[in-house]
């Protein structure tokens, strides 16, 4: 599974052992996701809109014959619609809900790197001050003299919330 997200730094991998993290750009900020919940990263496929969903639920796409819901996390975290560039990718993650796991695709602006961090490197989240709601952040990862928010998949891809219908009379 990890082999799909290993990019080109085998040497570095060999030195450091531990869980992998995907670092990616969202609105020119770096964010991280745990590698263990990622099944694959694909080019942005064609998205079919599903009516009456939350604005951040863009629709569905076809990933190897499976229908996968597409979540725009820029919209979800920063209320900013994503911009489609040729680097836009879809990160397919597994989300467990009621013991069943579902695949959801997360739209990201650009893959940056896959890195290994040990558990003791992670730091706690400041209660406020982040550009996004701190409930979406699981930990802060120190990286090259800076900090990267590690997104909590559980709260970002909260199926119970996301499956709610958009109020049809609102707009």
């Amino acid at each position: 599974m990890y082999s799909q997200i290993l990019i080109d730094d085998d040497d570095e991998m060999a030195i450091k052992e531990g869980p992998q993290y995907l670092l990616f750009y969202l609105q020119s900020n770096l964010f991280a996701l745990r590698g263990e919940c990622i099944t694959e990263i694909v080019e942005l496929p064609e998205i079919t809109k599903v009516p009456w969903m939350q604005p951040c639920v863009k629709g569905v796409c076809n990933i190897r014959g499976t229908i996968v819901g597409v979540l725009d996390i820029s919209e979800r975290l920063m209320q900013n619609d994503f911009t489609n560039t040729n680097r836009t990718s879809l990160v397919i993650v597994k989300v467990a809900e009621e013991e069943v796991s579902h695949k959801i695709g997360l739209l990201i602006d650009e893959v940056y790197e896959v890195e290994v961090f040990e558990a003791n490197e992670l730091q706690s989240v400041p209660s406020f001050g982040l550009p996004i709601d701190s409930k979406y952040v699981e930990a802060m990862i120190p990286y090259k003299g800076d900090f990267i928010p590690l997104l909590s998949l559980k709260s970002v891809a909260d199926i119970e919330f996301l499956s709610q219908r958009e109020n049809p009379h609102a707009t």
Binding site: E46, T48, K49, V50, P51, W52, M53, V57, V60, C61, N62, R64, G65, T66, I67, V68, G69, L71, E97, V100, H102, K103, I104, I159, L162, S163, Q164, R165
Partner: protein, 664 residues
């Protein structure tokens, strides 16, 4: 007592214990297939193991008992109270026989007399005298049609230390069918200087023919399974899977050890004539369904890749390339349809089996019944069909037993003498509906409610709607029959039925009318079912509705317009119908390519509405895929389907849509 005998004794006693529990449970709770299976297996297993020790008394007795149970299992003999008592006696008798056999003591006269008596009683049940069990008897050719097996066994180093006698095991194998050849593998045999006389070095390749399952063959070797390496192949399979053949002993030159050959000839008269009559290759192959799922996913990927190829074909306009691409597309389409069809099975074949049961039950209860099956061509996932069979059987028995009245009573009530039970299946908006309807006496709601109160399922004061009251019969411990019969009605049924159906993510409901009959409706989703859909486009999105809900399709021209401002209606040849502007409703962007709008007239139940849509594409074979939890609240959408181009089309859930639009 030797170790093997000890095993035999323990195994036999365990089997007998299971048989006794099954018999007692059957007396208490009613006969079911599971109990019959347990009793049959007990006799069968003991016979098999006794065969390895040549305990002839046990073999001959258990053989007859097994025949009896086989007849019961096939429904030829009914397992009634008397027979259960007889079987209990048989169990005790076998237990005695085992005791004597283990002690190697001769059977005293009183036991022998009992043996004769029980055998005679069983034979009475079997009516026609059973085939006599002769150890050397071979099975008739017809029954062994295509059951060729290749058994390969290698003795482990310490085999001789176990003290097991392989010859007797092979001799026993002989009783299950025909040994065509036994060849000895000697390639591991070292030179005389190196040979260790305590080690076996040998292996055997056996060509065996018999009407048995693989498990049966493995069972024969049960006592030595840890001491040998055993491989059992169906020869049919080997022929199909050519590439695997290299594992088989082509290169190992079989050398026949004369001693063994002589022994085999002892037990096996020449069977040359048999060799010619082997009918080849069975027609079906069991495959893990997940393998088919993978295949389907791969094909979906191929379809998408193919669509890309077609784009390049258009781009380069090369005639030869185009020709190949068209051929490829056609083959791919065919492949896709064939693979999709593997999992789907018509329900008819499975339904036909119920006919027999209904007739038997009706006959036993002196009822006259016309049993009809409709919609047998409806396709359903094979695993779903298998799992739904038991609940259906139970419900059918219920209908015959509790629903349909006796002929005299029917005539008295002004009904035809013959009761009707109808089993029908049809697809409905992404579900398969199976209904069992009878024109029997029906269920009285107040009877259900008072019974539920008496049983403490609901409180004395609790008020229920009709639908809620009908649901009570699916509660554990609820049975409406006043007299418990041995066909149905011990209150162990309907809750299990409901549980089984819910496990398939289906639902079951009951509607009943006193004096008129009852109708059970089972609704099963079909995740992987193919429906005939109708494909159309609204704005940028493709949509599908089940074809059988499409009443007609019309172009939305001025003759259908209704001049009431802000109305959502249209005039269908003088009938005013509601019109749903799908583009507006789903907030779709306008479709640039589309020139005119069309109305799809959709019918569901007694209602009709029009859907205002853009482009129509027509009939489309639709594979339904779930949208996933994320879209569980998506309004009026049931699932999605992947089109040949790799695009996704959303499938309308018309019943929910009607509900949402409050058309009732």
């Amino acid at each position: 007592m030797s170790e093997e005998l000890q095993y035999f004794n323990e195994d036999a006693q365990e089997q007998l214990q299971m048989m006794e529990s099954a018999l007692l449970d059957a007396m208490d709770k009613g006969v079911n297939d599971e109990y019959i299976g347990t009793i049959f297996r007990a006799m069968h297993t003991i016979k098999g193991v006794a065969g390895m020790f040549s305990f002839d008394a046990i073999i001959s007795f258990t053989h007859i008992a097994e025949n009896l149970m086989d007849a019961v299992r096939n429904g030829k003999i009914e397992l009634d109270e008397n027979l259960l008592m007889l079987l209990l006696k048989c169990k005790d008798h076998v237990s005695t026989l085992v005791d004597y056999a283990v002690e190697s003591a001769p059977l005293p006269k009183n036991i022998l007399d009992k043996d004769k008596l029980l055998k005679a009683t069983i034979n009475n049940y079997l009516q026609s005298p059973p085939e006599k069990f002769v150890p050397t008897q071979t099975l008739p050719i017809e029954t062994i049609s295509s059951n060729l097996w290749h058994i390969s066994l290698h003795l482990k180093e310490y085999f001789f230390e176990t003290g097991m006698d392989l010859i007797s095991i092979i001799a026993f194998l002989k009783r299950l069918g025909t040994l065509h050849s036994v060849s000895t593998l000697v390639e591991n045999l070292p030179t005389l200087e190196e040979i260790d006389p305590y080690k076996p070095y040998l292996g055997f390749e056996i060509e065996f023919e018999g009407d048995v399952k693989k498990e049966d063959i493995i069972e024969v070797f049960e006592f030595v399974e840890d001491d040998i390496e055993l491989n059992v192949f169906s020869v049919d399979k080997i022929q199909k899977e050519e590439p695997q053949k290299e594992e088989l002993p082509e290169q190992t030159k079989p050398v026949i050890i004369e001693v063994l050959q002589a022994k085999i000839e002892d037990i096996q008269p020449k069977q040359e004539s048999n060799n010619k009559q082997i009918t080849p290759i069975s027609q079906s192959l069991r495959v893990d369904s997940s393998k088919i799922d993978i295949l389907i996913d791969t094909i979906s990927e191929m379809v998408i890749a193919n669509a890309k190829v077609n784009r390049y074909v258009e781009k380069y306009a090369d005639a030869e390339l185009e020709e190949v691409a068209i051929e490829l597309s056609g083959l791919l389409e065919e492949l896709r349809n064939n693979v999709m069809n593997i999992r789907m099975v018509q329900v008819g074949e499975s339904f036909e089996k119920f006919r027999r049961v209904v007739n038997d039950v009706a006959h036993k209860l002196n009822k006259k019944i016309n049993f009809t099956i409709k919609g047998g061509e409806t396709e359903l996932d094979k695993t779903v069909i298998e799992k739904i069979a038991d609940p259906l059987l139970h419900m059918l028995r219920n209908s015959v037993d509790h629903g349909i009245e006796l002929p005299a009573q029917r005539v008295q009530n002004g009904k035809p003498e013959y009761g009707t039970v109808e089993l029908r299946a049809y697809p409905e908006s992404g579900s398969i509906v199976i209904e069992i309807e009878d024109d029997g006496k029906g269920l009285a709601l107040d009877a259900i409610i008072s019974k539920a109160r008496a049983k403490g399922i609901i409180s004395q004061t609790q008020q229920l709607s009709d639908a809620e009251a009908y649901k009570l019969i699916f509660e554990p411990g609820f049975s409406t029959a006043e007299v418990v019969s041995d066909i149905s009605g011990r209150g162990v049924g309907m809750d299990v039925v409901k549980k089984n159906i819910e496990a398939l993510k289906g639902e079951v409901a009951l509607v009943s009318k006193v004096g008129k009959g009852s109708c059970f409706t089972i609704r099963l989703p079909l995740t992987l079912a193919i429906i005939d859909g109708f494909l159309f486009q609204v704005g940028q999105t493709h949509y599908i509705i089940p074809l059988d809900m499409v009443s007609e399709v019309i172009e939305y021209t001025s003759e259908y317009h209704v001049n009431i401002r802000e109305s959502q209606l249209f005039d269908l040849r003088g009938t005013l119908l509601p019109l749903l502007d799908v583009r507006n409703y789903y907030k779709e962007l306008p479709c640039e390519m589309c020139e005119r709008q069309n109305i799809i007239v959709v019918k569901y139940g007694h209602h009709k509405i029009g859907l205002l849509v853009d482009e129509l594409f027509g009939e489309y074979q639709t594979v339904i895929k779930p949208l996933g939890k994320l879209f569980k609240n998506a309004p009026g959408l049931y699932g999605a389907s992947i089109l040949g181009s790799g695009e996704i089309a959303l499938i309308f859930d018309i019943p929910t849509l009607f509900e949402i639009l409050k058309i009732k």
